[in-house]
């Protein structure tokens, strides 16, 4: 029997790696991938607690999060394509058009 806290620690590790990716990488596509990692880590938490409590509500919330991740990936990648067409760059720290 695996204690629930081990699932929490796994989710925590994935979450922290995702945050590191978002904060340190320059490539926007990799930043989007790191966001997917973060959302995935949250799903592990929800399913583990759902197992602990013995109800399926956590599964339903995990499905909502997966839906959200899919929508976010589609729109985000669309924005990246549009931006690349106009500015010819994929680096997050060069996207400073609106910075004063």
């Amino acid at each position: 029997m695996i204690p629930t806290s081990h699932y929490l620690f796994l989710s925590l590790a994935l979450f922290t790696i995702g945050v590191i990716g978002v904060v340190t990488r320059r490539n926007v596509i990799v930043i989007l991938m790191s966001i997917e990692l973060i959302l995935n880590a949250v799903n592990i938490n929800l399913v583990a607690f759902s197992r602990l409590v013995g109800s399926a509500e956590g599964h339903a919330f995990a499905i909502f999060i997966i839906t959200d991740a899919a929508a976010e990936a589609a729109v985000g990648l669309g924005i990246i394509i549009a931006y690349f067409r106009n500015r010819e760059t994929l680096l997050g720290d060069e996207m400073d058009l609106m910075k004063w």
């Binding site: 029997m1 695996i2 204690p3 806290s5 081990h6 699932y7 929490l8 620690f9 796994l10 925590l12 590790a13 994935l14 979450f15 922290t16 790696i17 945050v19 590191i20 904060v23 340190t24 990488r25 320059r26 490539n27 596509i29 990799v30 989007l32 991938m33 790191s34 997917e36 990692l37 799903n43 592990i44 399913v47 583990a48 759902s50 197992r51 013995g54 109800s55 399926a56 509500e57 599964h59 339903a60 499905i63 909502f64 997966i66 839906t67 959200d68 991740a69 899919a70 929508a71 976010e72 990936a73 589609a74 729109v75 990648l77 669309g78 394509i81 549009a82 690349f84 994929l90 720290d93």
Partner: protein, 168 residues
């Protein structure tokens, strides 16, 4: 025993490939390691008796979102970015802050573990026909959020098409 082997194998696989996603230079390799990490998570869902989520994870993440990522990588010429600096100028500051956040959460879980009954899980039979239970929850209590999610998907679809069009 088998349960533990499966869990720790998939956990190590997920964490290891997640580290590779964040550190690799080539974006295509990042995408491949992201698939590995997501599939390892799917294995953990299976180990948690969430069969429906396992299938959804494989189809939607490994099948849908990854194809999207690889397609965009194909559309965009990435040869230039291979030779550029991969990390921010202030990457060390971000790394330190993210690690502080991780340490904080670790302490929170380690301290709270004794206060909450995080040890024993419900017996596996409590969630037995998992798909049926998920369907009952989704179409019963969470009917309205479910419909709103479908509207969200429609909006995202229209948004993605408009964003990727040549001329708006």
């Amino acid at each position: 025993m088998l349960d533990q082997i499966v869990f720790y194998f998939f956990a190590a696989l997920a964490v290891g490939s997640a580290i590779q996603v964040v550190t690799r230079r080539n974006v295509v390799q990042c995408a491949i390691f992201l698939v590995t990490s997501l599939l390892a998570t799917a294995g953990i869902f299976l180990q948690l008796h969430a069969e429906f989520l396992f299938i959804v994870q494989v189809i939607l993440y490994a099948g849908g979102i990854m194809v999207l990522f690889v397609f965009v990588i194909m559309l965009i010429n990435l040869d230039v970015s291979l030779h550029q600096l991969q990390f921010n100028r202030q990457w060390w500051l971000g790394l330190v802050l993210a690690l502080v956040l991780g340490a904080e959460l670790t302490i929170a879980i380690a301290v709270g573990r004794s206060g909450l009954p995080l040890g024993e899980a419900a017996p596996a039979s409590a969630l037995e026909p998992s798909t049926q239970l998920v369907g009952r929850v989704l179409f019963g209590e969470y009917m309205l959020p479910f419909e709103i999610a479908s509207i969200l998907l429609l909006v995202a679809m229209i948004g993605a098409v408009v964003m990727a069009k040549k001329k708006v």
